[in-house]
Amino acid sequence: MGLNLKFFDALKFLVRKPHTVRVPYEKKEVAKRYRGIHVNDWSKCIGCGNCAKICTCQAIEMVEIPTLEPKMGQTNLRPQVDYGRCSFCGQCVDVCPTGSLKLSTEYEIISSDVKDFKFIPNLNHDSGPGTGWESDTETSFLDFNRVEMPERDPAERKKDFEWVLEGFSEEEAIFEATRCLGCALCVQGCPTGMYIPEYINAIFHKNYEKSVDWMFVNNPLPEICGTVCTHRCEEACVYHNRGQAIQIRYLKGFAAGKVPDYEKVVGISKKRTGKKVALIGAGPASLSCAFYLRREGIDAVIYEAQEAPGGMLKLGIPRYRLPQSILDKEIDFIKKQGVVFKFGTRVGKDITFEKLHEEYDAVFIGTGYHIGMTMGIPGEEGKDVFDAATLLKDVSLGKEVKIGKKVLVIGGGDVAMDATRTALRLGAEVVILSYRRRYVDMPASDEEKHEAEAEGVQFLTQTLPTEIVRDKSGNIVKVKYVETEMVYEEGAKRPKPVPKMDDVKEWDIDTVIMAIGQKPDWSYLPEKWRKMLKFDKRMKNIIVNDDMMTDIEGVFAGGDVVNPRKDAISAIADGRKAALGIIKYLGIKR
């Protein structure tokens, strides 16, 4: 016992480095992972507001930046941090879907003005990559991997026209729905602006009826869209920036499929106004327009040249992608609303456009693009050369279509993919897809490309068929082709394929399907009327006003004939917009 700390024991402390930092002569060196001042990379930030939503101190506020343009998947909001409130927990960083936000190793803001402690973070205090509190897809709270939609085995499914998707189980759907943060950036991506966060939230709560109720606000074909939509919403999804977007499309399809009878949810409109509207073509644009017209008590009569409703949904999209049962369910519900269909009635032949214009209070043109184009190469006249639109239509209508064993499909869009996969299902053994540009340039969606590849379609990109060679009896024996080279031209958006004409090669082929594009058919519209309409420069699309009305009073248009996007959801959006335009035009109070 006693005072044991010896004198020499104390001496050793004289030479030791002190713990303290001599501010301001020395600056404290902080750890690599230090949680200091907020840094926000505006080139990555999309203004989704999740940082503000998670902030437990309510220190983050989203403020509008007037110099920023909101665009798809991006708002013009940016987070503003209030250091009078912030606790530097870094949860804003861990929830940031894009990884734009971080806390740097900088920790000094010196100012006599209190306002300087409330600021909009940018790269000003950045301490460089790999320093400070950063979040990658691993450390984020968020799960950047989606639940994959189960599909049938490619070897099995290519034998028949049954649906390739197996559908989500309830567990999978809810697990996927959990990922939705509710930031609603996806709504900007959807042409018809569906209430996506709302219906996904309803799915999360297993309230499928409420979910369907939200869908019908601006889309009367939710299960069809939940199966074959081009899902621009998923491109706008915040997860898309660093990982896989939420399966918005299939979730919608799942919820709609869970409600067998829409009538219980949406009801049937009992309104009657005495007004009537004629709609030409029974495609998605007209179906959507007719539905919303009927909801407001306007009689809608759809004239369709074919014997079946659905337009391209029925005739363009093969049944293995969109089963007949889904088409029937949704179109029957539109019929139930009181929409009248006149099948087998071709406008211009069975009834004139003038008559429609005279008899009805308004006319809606939703005739679409359904004439397939051909290349105009030698040998294409004659048997065993199909245009994809006709082939798909005939197959869909159950007509007998005979193709050979070695099929060449020309084109790179969704229709080309449909043609290849339909050819496989019609018994083709070898299916070659020829596309003049690169794989990445193909306009077809990635999943269709992958599905076609999985089923055994050979993709031969940067090839250009030049001649179809036939034998004496007219059968196709070969297709001559050249390869192309991608050439970048100044000012061009993408490189141009230039054929190497001197090196001609051959494929052994017996059937050719051309899927190089479609065009509208204006033959039903007399010259006089056609002249009154205003078309765009390439004479492809009708120009309409904000209410979807053409230059002819009382004539509205929508779908592929108006919309350059040429997909079902844009047509549905147009149809709804036109319905609202017609309601306004007819002076009906909603």
Binding site: L3, R33, T139, L142
Partner: protein, 371 residues
């Protein structure tokens, strides 16, 4: 309460750190310099944590809940995570379990260093707090490296910890604990065997076994009274059952001296645990994905989780109604029984000069009594 008539003085200790690490005050009545009555007076630190948690999503409570206790915030985070994990039946990844042990034991060392300095300071041995606070900084440096924060770490999350340990961290932890172990000898010389300390602390503020049990005393204070009870041993939580360590039982007097010395020997045991955890730590993930912090739900039910903090048994009672926010969260801190109840019993008859030491030796943290 009987009216006290014969006293010479009536005065207040506090609310500025009256021998506790937070703000609280004691109303003291003394006859000469002998205390005849003491009344704790709380309310200086009430921030309504329990109620605030009910207004926030589960995940958002991590930055909030740890603020209950400044000297050892990690216990709050871990308990909160443990409660959610138990209700939702989450298997926490192995590596995260080991990291949690290291964090908890480092936090205990840091709290004990603060404690030693605090007790020594109350009897005028001012070199000790300077050294212990300095040495505590080495632990805070480790925390800064691991978690990005020095005092408030906000490092735990549902199903693990927020980040993996940085490269070379284990080695630096071992180096630091080696150093602290060596430093104990200096502390023995400077403080634990210091005649002033021995003279001032022995036989002062005695909590005998019966009183300890009667007042729900827990932790080192209980062990110093001769009851060998440690949650880590009796009801092992996390993975404490995998480690070899002892609960020192050589001090049974229940006086201030025993309480301090109990902690001095427990300090060594914590170092043992840290070394084992660092050696056994497996590779692997450190957390699970909660997927969506705004829709994260905890199954309906209630749970009481507890652990051995540096101050005693610390528990959270969490009730969930299956929603996105806690339905109710209740904190059971050891300071309520130590700082409010026990003090009344043991301070009677002691000197005014000793009261701060007695209070500090009980390791009272006012915010955990008034949340």
């Amino acid at each position: 309460m009987a009216k006290i008539r014969d006293f010479d003085y009536e005065y207040f200790i506090g609310p500025q750190h009256p021998g506790a690490t937070g703000n609280m005050s004691y109303h003291v009545w003394a006859e000469g310099d002998t205390i005849i009555k003491i009344e704790p007076n709380l309310g200086y630190l009430h921030r309504g944590f329990e109620k605030l948690t009910e207004l926030r999503h589960w995940i958002k409570n991590f930055p909030l809940i740890l603020r209950i206790c400044v000297p050892e915030p990690d216990i709050n985070e871990v308990l909160y995570a443990m409660a959610i994990e138990e209700l939702n039946e989450i298997d926490v990844p192995e590596r995260a379990q080991y990291i949690r042990i290291i964090v908890l034991e480092l936090a205990r060392l840091s709290a004990y260093l603060l404690y030693f300095g605090g007790v020594a300071g109350t009897i005028g041995l001012y070199t000790v707090p300077q050294w212990t606070i300095g040495d505590r900084d080495y632990i805070l440096d480790l925390f800064e490296e691991l978690t990005g924060g020095r005092v408030y770490h906000i490092y735990q999350t549902i199903g693990g910890v927020r980040r993996d340990i940085p490269e070379g961290f284990k080695e630096r932890v071992l180096k630091t604990v080696d150093y602290l172990e060596k430093r104990l000898k200096d502390y023995d010389n400077l403080f634990f065997q210091h005649p002033i300390f021995e003279k001032r602390a022995k036989g002062i503020g005695i909590v005998d076994k019966d009183a300890a049990l009667r007042f729900s005393v827990t932790g080192p204070n209980l062990r110093a009274a001769g009851v060998n009870y440690d949650v880590r041993k009796k009801e092992p939580y996390l993975i404490y059952d995998r480690f070899q360590f002892d609960v020192p039982d050589m001090y049974k007097d229940g006086d201030t001296y025993s309480r301090v010395m109990q902690r001095r020997y427990e300090f060594e045991e914590s170092i043992k645990i840290i070394r084992q955890a660092a050696a056994d730590m497996p590779e692997g993930p450190v957390n699970i994905k909660i997927r969506n912090p705004f829709e994260y739900r905890v199954k309906e039910g209630s749970v009481y989780v507890k652990l051995e903090s540096s101050k005693g048994e610390y528990g959270f009672y969490v009730v969930s109604d299956g929603g996105v926010k806690p339905y109710r969260l209740h904190v059971r801190g050891p300071s309520f029984s130590h700082g409010l109840q026990l003090v009344r019993h043991i301070a009677k008859g002691t000197n005014i000069a000793d009261i701060s030491m007695i209070l500090f030796s009980l390791d009272v943290c006012p915010p955990d009594a008034e949340r």
